[in-house]
């Protein structure tokens, strides 16, 4: 069951790679939050109940409700166009995402057998690199933020893998999540929306060396 959820998570990355509309991105982020809820619920069996409730609440309330609602609000308020406007065609994105996933699978086979379930490793690392790829290949600042949120989700998967032995690390991960998301989303996305009318990275190229 755990592996099924993780594989659905991996599939959501492929869907994101070919998504055209901004609203699809937001929905997929919400879906990933729900999937993380199930992963946490199924994986963290040896953790104390209060801590587990905290983690579950974080996934369901913060990741799958609060952040998507806020992203939708930003999209509406700043009248951001519905298209994602990547620099590369979706087909290429799909190929690159596939290459990333295959590479992480090969990498996971070269790693020594440890306590870690390899599925977690593959999902986490491919999410991380796909998120970085989205940041590099999309034009809007808000898609950069979404790429960052995808990276956060990947890190969360990885922290769940060691969560039974070291619950402290899961809590630290949650702290990072909330801290960084609030800093990036709350303060700056709002501010950038006020100052730059159309949120496009091409407007952020004024700091130059010559």
């Amino acid at each position: 069951m755990l592996h099924v959820v993780l594989i659905i998570f991996l599939i959501s990355l492929f869907y994101l790679a070919i998504a055209n509309r901004m609203s699809t991105y937001v929905n997929m982020l919400a879906l990933q939050g729900i999937l993380l809820f199930f992963v946490a619920f199924l994986e963290l069996k040896h953790i104390n109940t209060i801590n587990l409730i905290l983690i579950l609440l974080e996934t369901i309330i913060f990741k799958s409700v609060a952040v998507p609602v806020f992203l939708n609000y930003v999209l509406k308020r700043n009248h951001i166009t519905r298209e994602a406007e990547p620099y590369v065609p979706n087909f290429v994105s799909l190929i690159i995402t596939t290459i990333i996933v295959v590479t992480t699978i090969i990498l996971s086979n070269t790693m020594e057998e440890g306590k870690l379930d390899k599925m977690f490793f593959v999902v986490a690392l491919s999410t991380l690199f796909t998120g970085l790829y989205f940041i590099a290949s999309r034009r809007k600042i808000i898609t950069h933020v979404m790429g960052y949120l995808i990276i956060e989700n990947g890190v969360f998967v990885l922290s769940l893998a060691v969560g039974n032995e070291m619950p402290m690390l899961v809590n630290l991960g949650i702290m990072l999540d909330i801290f960084a998301s609030v800093l990036i989303l709350g303060v700056f996305l709002n501010k950038i929306g006020d100052v730059f009318k159309d949120i496009d990275v091409n407007q952020l190229t004024n700091l130059k060396d010559y």
């Binding site: 020594e112 402290m168 630290l172 702290m175 800093l183 700056f188």
Partner: protein, 476 residues
């Protein structure tokens, strides 16, 4: 005591933030400086003791804490001058500025002393928050752009460090212990799983380079130093870089005690060399004086990490170099505000004949230039020379020649720009409007430059002992 310090400075910071009266603000900032000095003295007094489980007053921590304490005093003074002279400063922006300044100095001090990798990580996050408030001080489009880039890249880097910590815990899984304190990691270094440790080191190193200002994440720091007010940029290029160094150094000590030492030094060495190369390329082209100084910081961090990679005497030289660089570069950034007051621009082509308008200030610029390019009477000459010697002893002759060539480019570019600013008059410059700068404002810079020369040429025995103690755990 460390808890009293942390709570006390957070309370003072909150007090500055909420009570926006001018007198209250400045007296609270002075109170914080007193607290910082008292804390530094306390830390020296309790050398090698552990406080509140997660903090140890060890040699490296104390060196960096003293550096940060010494720099924080001129930083507060120059911030005061800067805010009082600026026309756009409001009580609100002043309160946010000083609140963030206090938070920043507190967070770096705690990060230096932390003996647990997760604690270092938490305080690194706090510095991102406070530094972004400082960078966004001007509240205009360009400042927003700089802040956005800084925050975004720092957030990704902090995530990288976290992934590194997770991999570290996986590599530690066989040791039968789940305490990620550096001491515990060192004690069990033979049990660490090497392939996971490799991944962990790569991620932690990449993550901390954003604070250290090294390839690959150096870009954020350069933009941030360009847009931040002068005194804040001084902190960004001194104490924050020291924090990044501490973060990397402590994990490097752990890795160096495993069979991975050679691999790790290769990784560090490659990143350092690429940083030097990038710094050389940009310094030749750059027109903005603040960015030029920021790229010079990238260059010096490259030299520091080359020392670490070469080993031997290089370890000593690296710590000496980063401390001296903190003093020299911060005095250069403190001086920048006087230049801006005279020329009202950052563009090197519109600055010139500075000796005529502000003689004392230009003396500081000249001395800082001699220090920063490591010419003989300066302290950094000694540390840089020792780095080269360590590379020579490590049989890295080709690398050494390449580094020296790159440094020649950097010194040429730096000298060309600085001498133009100091001596060559600008066409169409309206001399009648040049503002007078009081010579007394350069006092701290003279003290810091003199101090750095003293520390380099004739280091007190206790300072040498502290450095030697902090590199004791590295294999020689």
């Amino acid at each position: 005591m460390i808890l009293i310090y942390l709570i006390g400075s957070i309370l003072i910071g909150a007090g500055v933030f909420f009570n926006r009266g001018k007198k209250t603000n400045y007296s609270l900032v002075s109170l914080f400086l007193v607290l910082q000095v008292v804390f530094a003295v306390y830390a020296c007094w309790h050398y090698n003791e552990t406080a509140s489980t997660y903090f140890t007053f060890d040699s490296l921590g104390i060196i960096m804490l003293l550096t940060a304490t010494i720099i924080s005093i001129p930083a507060a003074f120059h911030s005061y001058v800067y805010i009082e002279e600026s026309e756009e400063a409001t009580p609100e922006s002043r309160a946010i500025y000083f609140g963030a300044l206090i938070l920043l100095i507190t967070a770096v001090s705690a990060a230096y002393l932390a003996n647990h990798i997760a604690v270092v990580w938490i305080f690194a996050e706090v510095t991102t928050l406070s530094a972004s408030a400082l960078i966004y001080h001007h509240r205009n489009k360009l400042a927003l752009e700089g802040t956005w880039k800084y925050v975004f890249i720092c957030a990704i880097s902090i995530t990288f460090v976290f992934i590194g910590i997770l991999f570290l815990s996986l590599s530690f899984a066989n040791a039968g212990s789940d305490d990620l304190a550096y001491k515990n990691l060192l004690a069990h270094s033979s049990l660490l799983n090497s392939s996971w440790l490799q991944l962990a080191f790569l991620f932690i190193f990449t993550g901390f380079t954003v604070k250290l200002g090294l390839f690959p994440m150096f870009t954020a720091g350069v933009d941030a130093k360009d847009k931040a007010p002068g005194p804040a940029a001084a902190l960004l290029s001194s104490v924050i870089m020291c924090m990044g160094f501490v973060g990397i150094f402590r994990i490097y000590v752990v890795v160096a005690n495993t069979p991975l030492l050679h691999w790790a030094s290769l990784v560090v060495g490659i990143a350092a060399f690429i940083s030097l190369f990038i710094a050389a390329v940009y310094m030749v082209k750059v027109k903005n004086i603040k960015r030029m100084m920021a790229y010079s910081s990238v260059e010096h961090m490259g030299i520091v990490m080359l020392g670490i990679a070469a080993g031997g005497i290089g370890y000593y030289a690296a710590i000496l170099h980063i401390v001296l660089h903190a003093f020299v570069k911060s005095s250069l950034f403190f001086q920048y505000n006087q230049m801006y007051k005279v020329f009202k621009t950052k563009n090197i082509y519109q600055m010139g004949n500075y000796f005529k308008y502000n003689t004392t200030g230009s003396m500081v610029v000249l001395l800082a230039f001699i220090s920063v390019t490591a010419m003989p009477p300066s302290g950094m000459f000694v540390s840089e020379f020792l780095v080269f010697r360590s590379m020579f002893e490590a049989n890295q002759l080709i690398l050494l020649i390449a580094v020296l060539l790159l440094l020649t480019f950097i010194i040429w570019a730096f000298a060309k720009n600085i001498f133009k600013i100091l001596f060559i008059p600008v066409v169409d410059f309206d001399e009648s409007k040049v503002a007078k700068v009081s010579p007394w404002r350069s006092t701290f810079q003279f003290i810091m430059l003199g101090g750095s020369a003293y520390l380099g040429l004739n280091p007190p025995a206790i300072f040498v002992d502290l450095i030697n103690n902090s590199i004791m755990l590295l294999p020689h």
